[in-house]
């Protein structure tokens, strides 16, 4: 039953993503065309509150509910993997109008053709695993 809290958080996430319309292909197009503030408002609010909260956690060494320190591991220094990987991700994000979270929210919403997108996202992840040693990182 330790997992029930993650189920509840997932449910809230799914509802918020659907009701904010962040799972909509139309909204992603509107964002990439800079024709509304909506998506920037969502991401901007989340990041602004996130920066403040993470700074507070670090400043006061706030611990998690197990009593362990909340650690933020720095990501590996590199440019190539983040830039190239990011560009490939962005191409797919604009085309399908969904990043991984919204894909499954859409499936729950009833857009079952999104199962195809999600299945191929798994295939794409596998393809990365196969090719990773040959890619610049």
């Amino acid at each position: 039953m330790k997992l029930i809290k993650f189920l509840l958080l997932g449910i809230v996430f799914g509802i918020v993503m659907a009701k904010s319309e962040a799972v909509s292909w139309f909204r992603i197009q509107e964002m990439f065309r800079f024709q509304a503030f909506h998506m920037y408002g969502i991401i901007g609010t989340a990041v602004t509150l996130g920066v403040i909260g993470v700074a507070i956690i670090k400043q006061f060494n706030i611990r998690d509910f197990h009593g362990n320190p909340i650690l933020f591991l720095p990501k590996d220094k590199s440019v190539a993997r983040y830039l190239i990987g990011g560009i490939i991700f962005g191409l797919g994000w604009a085309l399908s109008g969904a990043c991984p979270g919204p894909m499954v929210v859409n499936i729950g919403y009833g857009f079952l053709s999104m199962i195809i997108v999600f299945f191929f996202a798994i295939v794409g992840t596998y393809l990365y695993g196969v090719l990773m040693k040959k890619l610049p990182h």
Binding site: L3, K5, F6, L7, L9, G10, I11, G14, I15, V16, M17, A18, E21, V23, W25, F26, R27, Q29, E30, M31, F32, R33, A36, F37, M39, T45, V47, L49, G50, V54, D64, I70, V79, L83, I84, G85, I87, G90, L91, G92, L95, S96, G97, C99, P100, G101, V104, V105, G110, F111, S113, I116, V117, F120, A121, G124, T125, Y126, Y128, G129
Partner: protein
């Protein structure tokens, strides 16, 4: 009152809820990153036998798979109980731009020209969905995260790699939107 729920939720409320979810996950000893699930699914499918990248203790990621299942349920609840089935309330400028590519004004959350079964069962329609998914899956693992892991969690921790990744997301998104989509749609 009911209208407050069925209409599009405000950006500030939605953004604050997403930040809250990130903090709850941190408090529960985990971190917010959705695309890790794609790798976990590969590992759970036994692909670790042939590829070391998928040979890890994926059961430790069960919490995130449960979060994913919750997300599906959340989408279902939103559609069944919290929506009036109205179209996405996007700007007129976007509607006009999209009509030039043959995408009609919204009737629901998604364009039927891309996600309707009539479109999906054409070669072009299928390839659009398949290639879109393939690039999202490949790119998120190559970049080490997606919108949640980099744009939300990473930027909140002021990580330069995440900023580079987010810049990449936008370069890719703009190239697709302005240069490639007008050719293929």
């Amino acid at each position: 009152m009911r209208e407050l729920i069925t209409q599009t939720w405000a950006w500030w409320f939605s953004g604050a809820m997403i930040a809250s979810i990130m903090f709850f996950l941190l408090y529960f000893g985990q971190s917010f990153g959705f695309s890790s699930n794609l790798r976990t699914i590969c590992a759970a499918a036994g692909l670790g036998k042939t590829n070391k990248f998928f040979d890890f203790n994926w059961k430790a990621q069960t919490w995130n798979i449960v979060f994913l299942i919750g997300s599906i349920i959340g989408g279902f609840i939103a559609a069944q109980f919290l929506s009036d089935g109205g179209p996405v309330n996007i700007s007129n400028a976007t509607i006009q731009d999209l009509s030039k590519m043959g995408i009609a004004a919204p009737e629901s959350l998604q364009p039927k020209e891309l996600f309707g079964w009539d479109a999906v069962f054409t070669v072009k329609g299928f390839l659009i969905l398949a290639l879109g998914g393939l690039m999202v899956g490949f790119g998120s693992r190559y970049a080490g995260g997606c919108t949640s892991g980099h744009a939300i969690s990473g930027l909140s921790n002021l990580q330069l790699p995440s900023l580079i990744a987010v810049i990449g997301f936008f370069i890719g998104g703009l190239v697709m939107t302005y240069l490639i989509m007008p050719l293929i749609l």
